[in-house]
C-alpha cells in the first residue's frame, strides 16, 4: 500500500503546475475564466496554429468566484490572462491591481462607451444586456399587453407574473437591481416595495428562474416574465426542439429596463508569457474571435466591424437605451444596495 501512495505522489508531482515553456515545443498560455465561457474549437485552434502555442483554459465558478481566486493568488498567479471580469466587478479588480496594462491596436476600433478602464488594464471584449424576457404565448392567451417600462411591472394585472433573481447570489439579478437603481436613484427601494406588493417571485439564480419558474422554457414554470438576457430569445430559437420559425420569447426593451454588462479581459500581473498574452488579447479583439462570440456565449461583440449571425439579428433584440452605472459607484455601493434590497424584499 505504501508503494501505491508513493507512486501516486510521484505522479502528482509530475503533473501538477502548468508547464513552462520549452524552447522547441509549443508555448502554453493559460486563460483563467468563468464557467460560462465558450469559444469555437476552430477559432481557438486558429490562434494556436498561428502562434505555435497551446491554450489551456481554467474555469472555476462564476465571475465573482473567479475574480476572488485571482485576487487571492495574485502573488503567484494561476494563469496568464483573466477573462470575464464584468463592469460590476471592474472596480474591485482594478483596485486589487491584478492586471498589467496593455493597449492593443484593435482598441482604436472599439467604441468609447465600452472602454471603462482608462488605464487599459482591463480591455472590453463583449457585452450583453440583462433584460426581462416574456412568454409571447402567455400574453397572447391571456390578452395581456406587454409591460413597456419598469413602472408597468408594478401594475396589478401583472401580479405574481415576474420572477427575479436574488442580487446577492446572482449576477443576473444584481444587474437588474442596478437597472432599477440607475432608473430610480435612491428611491429604488420604494420601487421594490411596490414590486414585492405585486407578488414578485424571488429565486436564487438564473438557472432556477429560467428553467424552473419561467413558463416559456422547457421547465414550464408558472411565471411568464423572467429577468434574463436580451440574447435569450435567440438561444430559444437556435436550440429549439422541435425547430421553430419564430422566437417563443422576447425582451422588454423599455427605458432602463435592461442593464448592460460588459466583459473584460486582462493580462495578469506576474505572467511569464507577456508576449503571448498580448497576442491572445489581440486575438480576442480580432474579428475572428468577435464574430465567434455571439453563438458561443450569446453576447454581442464590442468590435463594430464584426458581423452578427442571422439568428441574432432576427431574434435577439438590442435595446436602444440601457441602464448603466459607473463601475466605481457600483463598487462603492454594491453591498449597501444589496442589503437595502434584502431588507425590503426578503424580510
Amino acid at each position: 500500500m505504501k508503494r501505491i501512495l508513493l507512486l501516486a505522489l510521484l505522479l502528482l508531482a509530475a503533473c501538477s503546475p502548468r508547464a513552462t515553456e520549452t524552447p522547441s515545443g509549443p508555448q502554453t498560455i493559460t486563460i483563467m475564466t468563468h464557467d460560462s465561457f465558450a469559444a469555437s474549437e476552430e477559432v481557438v485552434k486558429a490562434f494556436e496554429d498561428a502562434n505555435h502555442a497551446k491554450v489551456v483554459f481554467l474555469q472555476s465558478g462564476d465571475t465573482g468566484a473567479v475574480l476572488n481566486k485571482a485576487i487571492l493568488t495574485k502573488d503567484a498567479p494561476l494563469a496568464d490572462v483573466l477573462f470575464g471580469v464584468d463592469n460590476t466587478f471592474l472596480s474591485r479588480a482594478l483596485d486589487a491591481d491584478i492586471f498589467e496594462a496593455y493597449e492593443p491596436l484593435a482598441l482604436q476600433e472599439i467604441p468609447a462607451a465600452f472602454k471603462l478602464d482608462p488605464s487599459n488594464r482591463a480591455l472590453p471584449v463583449d457585452y450583453g444586456d440583462v433584460c426581462i424576457n416574456y412568454d409571447k404565448k402567455y400574453f397572447a392567451d391571456h390578452n395581456l399587453i406587454v409591460p413597456q417600462s419598469l413602472e408597468d411591472l408594478t401594475r396589478p394585472e401583472y401580479a405574481g407574473l415576474l420572477v427575479v433573481e436574488n442580487p446577492a447570489t446572482s449576477s443576473t439579478g444584481l444587474a437588474f437591481l442596478f437597472a432599477t437603481v440607475a432608473h430610480y436613484g435612491d428611491s429604488f427601494t420604494d420601487y421594490w416595495q411596490a414590486l414585492k406588493d405585486n407578488g414578485v417571485v424571488v429565486v436564487d439564480g438564473w438557472e432556477t428562474a429560467y428553467y424552473t419558474n419561467f413558463s416559456a422554457s422547457s421547465g414550464r414554470g408558472p411565471q411568464p416574465m423572467v429577468v434574463s438576457y436580451g440574447s435569450s430569445p435567440a438561444a430559444e430559437v437556435i436550440y429549439a426542439d422541435p425547430p421553430v420559425t419564430d422566437a417563443p420569447t422576447a425582451s422588454i426593451l423599455g427605458p432602463d429596463t435592461c442593464f448592460r454588462q460588459i466583459e473584460f479581459v486582462g493580462i495578469l500581473k506576474g505572467t511569464q508569457n507577456r508576449a503571448l498574452a498580448e497576442k491572445f488579447v489581440d486575438f480576442m479583439l480580432s474579428r475572428q474571435f468577435q464574430e465567434d462570440v455571439p453563438l458561443q456565449m450569446f453576447v454581442y461583440p464590442v468590435n463594430p466591424n464584426a458581423n452578427l449571425p442571422e439568428a441574432f439579428t432576427k431574434y435577439a433584440q438590442a435595446p436602444k437605451q440601457t441602464a448603466a452605472l459607473p463601475p466605481d459607484v457600483i463598487a462603492e455601493n454594491r453591498d449597501a444596495w444589496i442589503q437595502a434590497w434584502t431588507d425590503v424584499v426578503l424580510k
Binding site: 500500500m1 501512495l5 505522479l11 502528482l12 503533473c15 501538477s16 503546475p17 502548468r18 460560462s36 465558450a38 469559444a39 469555437s40 474549437e41 489551456v56 483554459f57 481554467l58 474555469q59 472555476s60 465558478g61 465573482g64 468566484a65 481566486k69 485576487i71 487571492l72 493568488t73 503567484a76 494561476l78 474591485r92 486589487a96 404565448k137 436574488n166 446577492a168 447570489t169 429565486v203 436564487d204 438564473w206 438557472e207 429560467y210 428553467y211 424552473t212 413558463s215 422554457s217 422547457s218 421547465g219 414550464r220 414554470g221 408558472p222 434574463s228 435569450s232 438561444a235 430559444e236 436550440y239 429549439a240 426542439d241 422541435p242 421553430v244 420559425t245 419564430d246 417563443p248 458561443q296
Partner: protein
C-alpha cells in the same frame, strides 16, 4: 521489560494504522483550512451585531437540520427494515433507486421536483383539483429526505441484516410483542448504526447549501449560505471566517456527542441475513405500503428525468406546420454533436469515462485510507478518543472556505486532474470510516485471535476473517464512495480542467443556456448519470469478494 516492549510495539502498530488517513486529512484539510482561517480570521469581527447574526443563522441551520434528520429517520428506518428483512420482486432495483438522488446535482433535483410537484408538473396534471403548493421550507425538508434517506437505509439496513434472528425469537417466546421486540431488543442493538447514520445525515443537512439556495426561494439562509455570500464580498472575509469557525465548532461538538453516545457494539455474529417473502397479512400490507411510498417518493421525481429526456411535451410556440411532440431520441443523439463547435464541448462518452475513472479511484483511495482508521477506531484507545471527532470535520466544514484555503495553499497544483479523486475522497472518507467502524467492532476478537494463533499474519487475518464478514459493510462503504464521487462532492474545491469533463460539469453547461435542446440534453445527461449510478450500485452488490468464507 518485556511488557513495555510489547506495549511500545502495539503503540507503533496503532500509529502506523493512523498514518495514512491522518496525513491525508492533514494535507487536504487541516493545513489549507487553518491557513485560510489564520489569514482571514479577525478578532475585531466579534461584534455584538455579528454574533447576533451568527447565532440567528445558526439557530435556523440547526432547526432545519434537526427536522430534516428526524424526517429522514422516519422514512429511512422502516425502509431499512423493509430491505433488510423482506424479499420481494424489484427489491434490488428499488433499493438502488433510493441511492440515486444522493449524487444528483442540486439543480437537477430541483428541476425534477418541480416537474412533479410544480405548478405545471405531473401531479397537477393528473390531479388538477389538488392544490399542492408545498412551501419553500417543506421543499427543503423534502429534498433533504430525498437526498439522504439512502444513508439511513444502507447503514442501519446492514446492521439489521447482521442481527441474530434468534434474539427476536427468544424475545417473542419470552412474551414480547412486535413493538417490544423492537423497543427492547432490536433498537438497542442498532444503536451504533442509528447514531452513525443520524450523525452523517445531520452533518449533510447542517452544511446544506444547494438545496437551501435553490429550493428556499431566497428566503432561508444557513451558515453555509452565509459564508458563501460573505466570500463573494471579498476582501472582507473575516465574517465568513467567523461563521466558518462557528460551523467547525458545532461539527466538533456533534462528533463528540456521537462518540459519547455510541457504546462499543455488543459482539454478535450472524452474517447470513434471513429474508422472508411477506407472508402474514400485516407483513404484506407493510411491504406493499412501503414499496408504494418509496416508489412514489423516489421514482416519481427521478422518472421525470428520463421522461423529459425522451419526450417533447407541448408543442413549442411559434411553430408552423407539423407539430412534433412525443417520443424522441434527439436529445441523446444531440449529445454527440458539437453543435457550436465549442472547445468546451463535452463528449458524453468521455465524460462518462472520466466520471467513472474518478469514481473508481475515489473508491479505492477511500477504502485504503478508511480501513486502517476504522480498525483503529473499532478498538479505541485514548488516542482514538481524541482523533474520533476530528474525522467528521471535513463533512461539517464549509466547502467554500476550504476551497479558498486550497487556493492559497496549493495554488497551481489545483489544476491537476489527479487531484480530483483526492478531493472526492475528502468527503467520502468520513463516510467510509463511519460505515466500517461499527461493522469491524462487531467481529468477536476471539475469531481474530484464533486465526492469529493458527499462523495468520495481520494482513492475512484481515483478508480471511475480517473481509468476508465485513463484505456487506465494505460494499456499502464502496457504494457511498462511488456515488459521492459521481456526484462530485468536493469538486468546488478545485479548478476544473475542461479537458477532463465529467457528467455533472456537462449538465451544468447545458443548463446555463436557454433553449429546449439544451434543457433536453441536460436531462439526457442526468439520465445517463442516474443509470450509471443504478448500474454501478447493482453491480457492486453482486460483486463477490474472492475467497469469501460463507458462514
Amino acid at each position: 521489560m518485556g511488557n513495555s516492549a510489547l506495549s511500545v510495539s502495539l503503540w507503533l502498530k496503532r500509529i502506523l494504522l493512523w498514518v495514512p488517513p491522518l496525513s491525508f486529512l492533514a494535507i487536504l484539510f487541516f493545513f489549507p483550512l487553518s491557513k485560510i482561517l489564520a489569514l482571514t480570521f479577525d478578532f475585531q469581527t466579534l461584534t455584538a451585531d455579528n454574533l447576533q447574526l451568527a447565532f440567528r443563522v445558526l439557530r435556523f441551520t440547526l432547526y432545519q437540520a434537526v427536522l430534516s434528520t428526524l424526517l429522514t429517520l422516519l422514512l429511512g428506518l422502516p425502509s431499512a427494515y423493509l430491505f433488510a428483512r423482506f424479499d420481494f420482486r424489484g427489491k434490488s432495483f428499488l433499493r438502488a433507486l433510493t441511492a440515486v438522488p444522493f449524487m444528483l446535482p442540486t439543480v437537477v433535483v430541483a428541476s425534477s421536483f418541480n416537474a412533479i410537484w410544480g405548478g405545471r408538473g405531473l401531479f397537477s396534471f393528473f390531479f388538477p383539483s389538488f392544490n399542492l403548493h408545498p412551501s419553500a421550507f417543506t421543499l427543503i425538508l423534502l429534498a433533504h429526505v430525498f437526498y439522504n434517506a439512502t444513508i439511513v437505509i444502507r447503514v442501519v439496513g446492514n446492521a439489521l441484516s447482521s442481527l441474530d434472528p434468534k434474539l427476536e425469537a427468544a424475545a417473542r417466546s419470552l412474551g414480547a410483542d412486535s413493538f417490544r421486540v423492537w423497543w427492547n431488543v432490536i433498537l438497542p442493538l442498532l444503536r451504533p448504526s442509528l447514531l452513525a447514520s443520524s450523525l452523517l445525515v445531520f452533518l449533510f443537512d447542517f452544511t446544506s447549501f444547494g438545496v437551501i439556495l435553490l429550493l428556499g426561494g431566497s428566503q432561508f439562509s444557513t451558515l453555509e449560505v452565509e459564508i458563501y455570500l460573505r466570500v463573494l464580498k471579498l476582501p472582507n472575509l473575516s465574517l465568513a471566517a467567523l461563521l466558518s469557525v462557528i460551523q467547525l465548532l458545532c461539527t466538533l461538538l456533534f462528533s463528540l456527542l456521537y462518540t459519547r453516545l455510541v457504546t462499543r457494539n455488543p459482539q454478535q455474529l450472524n452474517p447470513r441475513p434471513v429474508l422472508l417473502s411477506p407472508k402474514t397479512f400485516k407483513q404484506r400490507v407493510f411491504v406493499s405500503l412501503f414499496c408504494l411510498l418509496l416508489s412514489t417518493f423516489f421514482l416519481a421525481p427521478l422518472s421525470a428525468l428520463p421522461f423529459r429526456s425522451l419526450f417533447r411535451l407541448e408543442a413549442d410556440r411559434g411553430q408552423r406546420g407539423e407539430v412534433q411532440y412525443g417520443f424522441t431520441t434527439d436529445y441523446y443523439t444531440e449529445l454527440f454533436v458539437n453543435r457550436r463547435g465549442s472547445v468546451f464541448y463535452v463528449p458524453p462518452i468521455q465524460a462518462t469515462a472520466n466520471s467513472l475513472t474518478y469514481a473508481g479511484a475515489t473508491v479505492i483511495l477511500s477504502l485504503l485510507l478508511g480501513f486502517p482508521a476504522a480498525f483503529a477506531l473499532a478498538r479505541p484507545t485514548r488516542l482514538e478518543k481524541v482523533l474520533d471527532p476530528l474525522i467528521m470535520l471535513p463533512l461539517g466544514s464549509s466547502a467554500v472556505m476550504l476551497g479558498l484555503g486550497f487556493i492559497i495553499t496549493y495554488g497551481q497544483w489545483l489544476t491537476s486532474p489527479l487531484l480530483v479523486p483526492f478531493a472526492h475522497t475528502l468527503v467520502a472518507l468520513p463516510f467510509v470510516i463511519r460505515v466500517l467502524q461499527p461493522a469491524i467492532a462487531s467481529i468477536p476478537e476471539r475469531l481474530r485471535q484464533a486465526a492469529a494463533a493458527l499462523g495468520a499474519s495481520p494482513f492475512e487475518v484481515w483478508k480471511t476473517i475480517d473481509l468476508p464478514i465485513l463484505r456487506r459493510a465494505t460494499l456499502s462503504a464502496a457504494t457511498f464512495a462511488f456515488t459521492i464521487s459521481l456526484g462530485e462532492f468536493g469538486a468546488t474545491l478545485l479548478i476544473s480542467r475542461p479537458e477532463y469533463p465529467t457528467i455533472p460539469v456537462a449538465i451544468e453547461r447545458f443548463l446555463s443556456q436557454p433553449g429546449g435542446l439544451n434543457y433536453g440534453q441536460a436531462m439526457a445527461m442526468a439520465t445517463i448519470l442516474m443509470s450509471l449510478t443504478l448500474v454501478g450500485i447493482l453491480l457492486i452488490e453482486k460483486f463477490r469478494l474472492p475467497k469469501s468464507g460463507e458462514f
